[in-house]
């Protein structure tokens, strides 16, 4: 029995993918808030507000995935095959994601507080990654015909499609670089030099890849890169800066990171020559040290000072090691930003493949 027309069915499929992305966005915001909550308050119970937000996000993503799957089944055959790969990613992802909830609870019950890098958290991040990449591909394939000169809603949908991917990937990279994984039972903390080198290579690569990809997907329209970056700044500030009263003073400093975002966006909007794209990538790479404040403080502190970085001294430590750390990392960061632009091109090709 056909309840919806073909067009409505297609729109519902698109809408369900947007809702999946939104759900995953909530999960990542809850996850980021949870990290700060652990740093400042060290909650001892599983049930907390950040966990509640996180699991509301999972529930939204679950229901949206069911809707997405049912609508996908009713798409015409040619479209069905075009969306098969992202739909499968989404199904596997939501399965892993839903399983990671009870696994996390069991881990808490058996071993108490778990660290950032733990089996349940890796399962959660893997599920999130598959779900968000699946919905991103579907959203972008749905909107690929919109290549007109004017701005359309689909250009802005690019932001919702790639922002959760960025946040989930950041979560993965943080789990292998932040020293937050030592608990009473396990010490999964990464080796400090590995962590610092890993962060220096991966974080600028990620931010450059995501932002340049966003710009390319929006046909280099000015604003998309800036909006994506500014949303990340807002989420990060709301999660990691605002809850810590000692960091409120750093908001103007953090807000300045809008400048390189707008600069890179302007460069890409003005010229799509290779040199211009590389320049934008280099600028984006060089600013990762500011973009990932304040959590990045904990990574380099381990190598430079090895101090106890409690909430109220985070900014002191960060600004104290900045003159030492920044000159060392800026070269690799610029290079990885450039590599990120090349990788963004490869991802673009995969996203726009037929299946």
């Amino acid at each position: 029995m056909r309840i919806f027309s073909e067009g409505t069915n297609q729109k519902l499929f698109f809408f369900s993918n947007l809702v999946i992305s939104f759900g995953i966005l909530l999960v990542t915001v809850g996850g980021g808030w949870d990290i700060t909550n652990h740093l400042l308050n060290k909650p001892e119970a599983f049930f907390s507000l950040p966990h509640a937000l996180l699991y509301i996000g999972v529930a939204i993503a679950l229901f949206a995935t069911i809707l997405m799957f049912t609508r996908w089944h009713r798409l015409p055959e040619d479209q069905k095959s075009s969306y098969k790969f992202p739909v499968m990613l989404g199904i596997i992802g939501i399965f892993v994601l839903v399983l990671s909830g009870p696994l996390d609870f069991m881990w808490h019950s058996s071993f108490g507080l778990d660290g950032l890098l733990s089996p349940p958290h890796q399962a959660l991040l893997s599920g999130l990654f598959l779900c968000t990449v699946g919905s991103m591909i579907s959203i972008l394939r749905y909107g690929r015909s919109h290549k007109g000169k004017n701005y359309s809603l689909h250009h802005f949908m690019v932001v919702l499609a790639i922002l959760p991917v960025w946040l989930v990937c950041t979560g993965f990279l943080y789990s292998y670089s932040l020293p937050f994984s030592q608990t009473e039972y396990f010490d999964f903390n990464p080796e400090i030099y590995f962590a610092a080198i890993f962060a220096t290579i991966s974080l600028p690569f990620l931010s450059s890849t995501i932002l340049v990809l966003g710009s390319k997907l929006a046909n280099y329209k000015f604003g998309i890169l800036s909006i994506t970056g500014i949303l990340l700044l807002i989420i990060n500030a709301a999660n990691s800066i605002v809850p810590n009263p000692a960091l409120i003073d750093t908001i103007p400093f953090y807000a300045l990171t809008v400048i390189p975002l707008v600069v890179a966006d302007t460069i890409l909007a003005q010229s799509q020559r290779k040199a211009a794209i590389y320049a934008a990538g280099c600028i984006l790479g060089s600013t990762f040290f500011f973009l990932y404040f304040p959590l990045i403080t904990h990574i380099y502190n381990e190598v430079i000072f090895d101090r106890v970085v409690s909430g109220s001294v985070t900014s002191n430590v960060y600004f104290e090691f900045m003159p030492v750390v920044f000159p060392i990392i800026v070269g690799p960061a610029i290079f990885m930003g450039l590599i990120g632009t090349i990788f963004a091109d490869k991802v673009l090709g995969k996203v726009h493949r037929k299946n």
Partner: protein, 192 residues
């Protein structure tokens, strides 16, 4: 012409950005006075002498003064005990976090977080609260039952994190414990 103006704007924006983030803001934050939480504690023991098999109580009251403390830790150590779970009972406790039982050989921070990790020489209880505003008090009462006759010592200290000055711990002087930190020493004579 338009391209040249945009290029100049880009260069100017980047110069302003990196000057602000690498020079102006770090200088501004470096000139700020670091916070200085100042904890104090007052201790009372119910007995100076007991008979073997009897217990005595320790009442601990701590207060954070001056500035907010991210973490406030009170450590109560028992150098004459090999383990404490059967000998020490927490009667009351209002710190915000669950107490930690430290066993001998556990790894501990030393010299007020500056001395690296050392192995605990004897068991202790660490009571702690997080995000403690100034003029906030906590209390803990312990019931202690020594195993052997003789002089039974208890080491008590309170430390604020961030530990920024010599006033960020209490007591300020006296005996140094195995972590290189000052402790208040209390003695109860246990008679056979």
């Amino acid at each position: 012409m338009k391209k040249q103006i945009i290029s100049a704007g880009i260069v100017a924006a980047l110069v302003v950005y990196f000057s602000m983030t690498l020079v102006v803001f770090p200088q501004e934050f470096a000139s700020k006075t670091p916070i200085e939480p100042q904890p104090i504690h007052s201790i009372s023991l119910t007995d100076e002498q007991i008979k073997l098999g009897q217990s005595f109580h320790i009442a601990i009251q701590i207060e954070n003064q001056n500035d907010v403390s991210d973490i406030l830790i009170t450590s109560v150590a028992f150098p004459k005990l090999e383990q404490i779970k059967d000998n020490v009972e927490i009667i009351s406790y209002d710190y915000t976090q669950s107490p930690r039982y430290i066993k001998a050989e556990d790894k501990l921070m030393s010299e007020y977080t500056l001395g690296g990790l050392v192995l605990a020489q004897y068991p202790s209880i660490e009571a702690y609260s997080r995000n403690v505003p100034p003029d906030t008090s906590y209390q803990m009462e312990l019931k202690v039952t020594p195993n052997d006759p003789g002089s039974f010592e208890v080491y008590i200290k309170t430390i604020a994190i961030p530990h920024t000055t010599d006033l960020s711990h209490y007591p300020y002087d006296g005996m140094l414990d195995s972590q290189g930190e000052y402790v208040s020493v209390y003695t109860v004579q246990v008679n056979p």
